[in-house]
Each structure stands twice: as structure tokens, then as C-alpha cells.
Amino acid sequence: MSDLRFGLMLMLFGMGLVFIILALLWGVIAIFQRIDRRLLSESEDEPLPADIRAPVAEIPAELMAAILVALERYREEETAPIRGRRPKQLEPTQARWVAVGRAYQLRSNITPRRKRS
């Protein structure tokens, strides 16, 4: 019997609490929304990425796939030399530094005081 009463209480308080908490979250988000809109009307805020992706649908999917792979590779190679961000690409990037640096240094060694002369 006590179980049943507790069950009823669980039902009432439970649903009540769930509603209260979610209503509260609604309020919090609503405040943020208002701030967002105010800031948006003042200046241009970063829009949803979805808008950018929309025209994608017109490109054939296979071509899209190939482009995506290529771009991803490119992005990975160009960015990411900081250790801990994209570890896989650390080495090749370093190797490129080595290469560039060496070519440069070797040349500048031949005429080491070029600039100061």
C-alpha cells in the first residue's frame, strides 16, 4: 500500500519535475535566442552551416565524394602542424619544413653575408 502511494507520488512529482525542469531550460534557451537575435540585427553573426551545404545537392554524389576526399587530404596537410591536434600529419609537415629549410639554408650558406654587404 505504501508502495502504491509512493508510486502515485512518483508519478505526480516525477512528471511535475520533468515539466518544470524542461520549462526552465526553455526559458534559458529563450534568453539566449533573444541575445542572439539582438546581436544578429546589430552585426552579421555566423549562420548555420546547413545553409552553406544546401547547394551541395546539385553536384553528383560520386564527384562530391572524390572532391571531399581530396579536400580533406589537402586540409590535413596544410594545417595541423601543432602536436596534439592532428598527430598523423605531424611528421610529413616536419619533413617539409626540413626540406624547405635545407634548400634555403644551403643556398644562403654560399653567400652567408649577402644581406649585410
Binding site: D3, L4, F6, G7, L8, M9, L10, M11, F13, G14, M15, L17, V18, F19, I21, L22, A23, L24, L25, W26, V28, I29, A30, F32, Q33, I35, D36, R37, L39, L40, D45, E46, P47, L48, A50, R85, R86, P87
Partner: protein, 371 residues
């Protein structure tokens, strides 16, 4: 010969119960592979059930692999919480942030939890068992596992099986209820679509604030909501792609496999083959239906008081079961009006249901702790 007797001890100790459990394990694997019902969980659960019910299996018990997995991640709630990090890292709360009033529909979609709880009490389950069965109505696997493991660990097996296998039945359970409760005219309501761009700031602050607000009000919900929102924070931050990847891939996959096996191993004949399991199977359907009905009726009520363009069908998406429920809404709406596009609204209600499920799980635990 004595050696042979000992040797074939396995065959000798095969019971009818174990045989039935082997069949049930096979049945779950059938559902997973042929029907594709949540295969990533039902296949390991089925396999775990078979491996645990083979007579004299060294895999069960404290020192067996399945026992080790159980203690490593189920008994201490580690696995469901880690899965939540992955879910958070995969969920886009954008549609909800654009229409935050959808949160109320998410709340309504949890009524099945409490209704089923009460019904289970009436059917003779004790209060802890009843609450664990009710939590099937969260329609969210990890929440069901988390809560039932804390309140009634002996029912974990059937509850998890029901939670995951019924999840795939959402497209079968919901439409009749939707057609019964919502009139044709209401189903044709179109919802205007106004863009509410959501700033990155809001997207990043949202998981933090939800954690703090919910955490302050319902400390028992901190693990569930905190892990879900941790994953989402990492995703929206955009600066820790490595961790997002690890959470939603490596951790999620490995943990899912281990969790499934460990849960399957709890399905041992003497614990599983009882009339309680049968009742849970029935109460599970009831929970799903009650959730849907409550969501629909509450949406209908909102439509009535606001007199606004709110199609009550989207109430059905408040149950969580992301993203199946949202698609069911879109499908049923299109039956009446092919050009009616409710999906984005339904997605908002759907992610609201996800949050509400977790909050409800925490609320149930909190009420038990406060008892």
C-alpha cells in the same frame, strides 16, 4: 567410464531452461541480422546469452570474460555513461535550439515512464522493480540500463532486451496511435518555418547550462545529463575533433560490444525464464504506447490553447527514440498532405525527448533517494 562422464559433463548438465535460453539468444541474433533491429546491441546481447547459457561455461562468474566485462563496466555504470558521451557527440541540438518550446513536448513524451511504473506496481512488482520497468518508457537504451541497474539489477537483462528490441518497433507501434488520436484535419496542419539562426555561442553554452541547471536541481541526474552534454560540448566546441572522434567511434563501438555481451550474460535461465519477464515484455509495449499517446495529447492540448499552427503529430516525436520517431511523424503527416514538411519541427521535439528522457531518469533516481 568415469573420465567420459566428467568429460561430457557439459551435455549432461544441459537443462531445458538453458536450451530455451540458447534459442532465445538465437532469436535475438535473428532479430539483429535478419530484421536489423538495433543490431549493434541485439547481436552482442544474443551472443552473450548463448555464451552464458552453454552449460558450465567458463565465461560466466567472477573470473570469466563476461563476468569481468560486467564488473568492469555494467556494475559500476561506466559503460552506459561512456555511451552517452558518444551520443552527445553525435547529436545536433540545432533544431531544438531554434524552437525551444519543443522541450515541453519532450516532457510530455515521458509520461509512459510513470504510467507504466504505476501499472507495474498494480501488477505486483515491488517499487524498485516497477520503476525499473517504467524507465523502459524513457525509450533510451543507456538510460534504461543506467537506472534499472541502480534500482533493480536482477531485471537488467529483460529490461535491456525490451528497451533495445522495441526501439526498432517504433515505426510499427506509433502510426496506429497517431491516426487514432489525431484527426485528419489536425494531421494536415502545416507548420510555418521561420529561420532562427543559432549562434555558435549558444550552441556551446547550451550543453554547459543544461548540465548546470539540471545538475543543480537533480543531482542524481548529473551522470546521465553530464556525460550527454560533455559529448555535445566537445562536438560544438569544434576544437577537440580528436576527442569527439574517440568518443563517438572508438569508445562507443568498443563499449557497445562489451555492454551487449555483458548484458546478454545476465540472461541466465533461472533469472530470465520467469513470468516477470513476460510481464516486462507486455509492459514495455504499454510504455511505448503510453509515451506516444501522452505526447500526442499534450501536443493537441497545446494546439488547442495556442490556436497556433502546431501539428499535434509532432507530439509523437517527444518520446525520444531518435531519429526514428521524427521520421515516423513526417511519414504519417505526408500520408495526408504530401507537401507537408514537419521533419525539422519533429527533430526538435525528438532531441527534446532525448534530454527529457535523461532528466526523467534522474528524477526517478532522485525521488528514490529522497524517499
Amino acid at each position: 567410464m568415469d573420465l567420459l562422464t566428467t568429460l561430457f559433463a557439459g551435455l549432461n548438465s544441459l537443462t531445458w531452461g538453458a536450451t530455451l535460453m540458447l534459442a532465445i539468444g538465437g532469436g535475438l541474433i535473428y532479430l539483429a541480422i535478419v530484421k536489423e533491429y538495433e543490431p549493434v546491441l541485439l547481436l552482442p546481447i544474443g551472443a552473450g546469452a548463448i555464451l552464458a547459457n552453454l552449460p558450465l561455461s567458463p565465461l560466466v562468474g567472477e573470473d570469466g570474460l563476461l563476468g569481468i566485462l560486467y564488473n568492469a563496466g555494467v556494475a559500476n555504470e561506466l559503460f552506459p555513461l561512456l555511451i552517452f558521451v558518444g551520443i552527445g557527440a553525435m547529436t545536433d541540438f540545432g533544431p531544438l535550439l531554434e524552437r525551444p518550446h519543443m522541450l515541453l513536448l519532450g516532457a510530455a513524451g515521458q509520461f509512459g515512464i510513470f504510467g507504466t511504473l504505476f501499472l507495474a506496481l498494480l501488477l505486483g512488482f515491488d517499487i524498485n522493480e516497477a520503476a525499473s520497468i517504467g524507465i523502459i518508457g524513457a525509450i533510451d537504451g543507456p538510460t534504461s540500463i543506467y537506472v534499472s541497474n541502480l534500482l533493480a539489477p536482477h531485471l537488467l537483462g529483460p529490461i535491456a532486451v525490451v528497451a533495445y528490441s522495441y526501439m526498432s518497433l517504433v515505426p510499427i507501434i506509433q502510426p496506429p496511435i497517431m491516426r487514432a488520436l489525431i484527426t485528419k484535419k489536425e494531421r494536415r496542419i502545416r507548420m510555418p518555418y521561420s529561420e532562427n539562426p543559432v549562434s555558435r555561442r549558444t550552441r556551446v553554452l547550451f550543453p554547459i547550462l543544461v548540465t548546470v541547471v539540471v545538475g543543480l536541481l537533480v543531482p542524481m541526474a548529473i551522470p546521465l545529463i553530464g556525460m550527454l552534454m560533455l559529448g555535445n560540448l566537445m562536438k560544438e566546441s569544434g576544437v577537440v575533433e580528436r576527442l569527439v572522434g574517440a568518443s563517438s567511434n572508438e569508445i562507443a563501438n568498443v563499449v557497445t560490444l562489451f555492454l551487449g555481451l555483458a548484458i546478454g550474460a545476465t540472461m541466465q535461465a533461472d533469472a530470465f525464464l520467469r513470468k516477470e519477464t513476460l510481464l516486462i515484455l507486455i509492459l514495455g509495449i504499454f510504455a511505448f504506447g503510453l509515451d506516444t499517446a501522452a505526447g500526442l495529447l499534450f501536443a493537441k492540448f497545446l494546439h488547442w490553447i495556442t490556436r497556433g499552427p502546431l501539428n499535434p503529430l509532432i507530439g509523437a516525436a517527444g518520446i525520444s527514440a531518435f531519429p526514428m520517431a521524427a521520421r515516423v511523424v513526417q511519414k504519417v503527416a505526408q500520408e495526408e498532405d504530401f507537401e507537408n514538411f514537419l521533419l525539422m519541427h519533429a527533430m526538435g521535439a525528438n532531441t527534446a525527448g532525448q534530454i527529457a528522457s535523461v532528466v526523467a531518469g534522474g528524477v526517478v533516481l532522485a525521488l528514490f533517494a529522497a524517499r
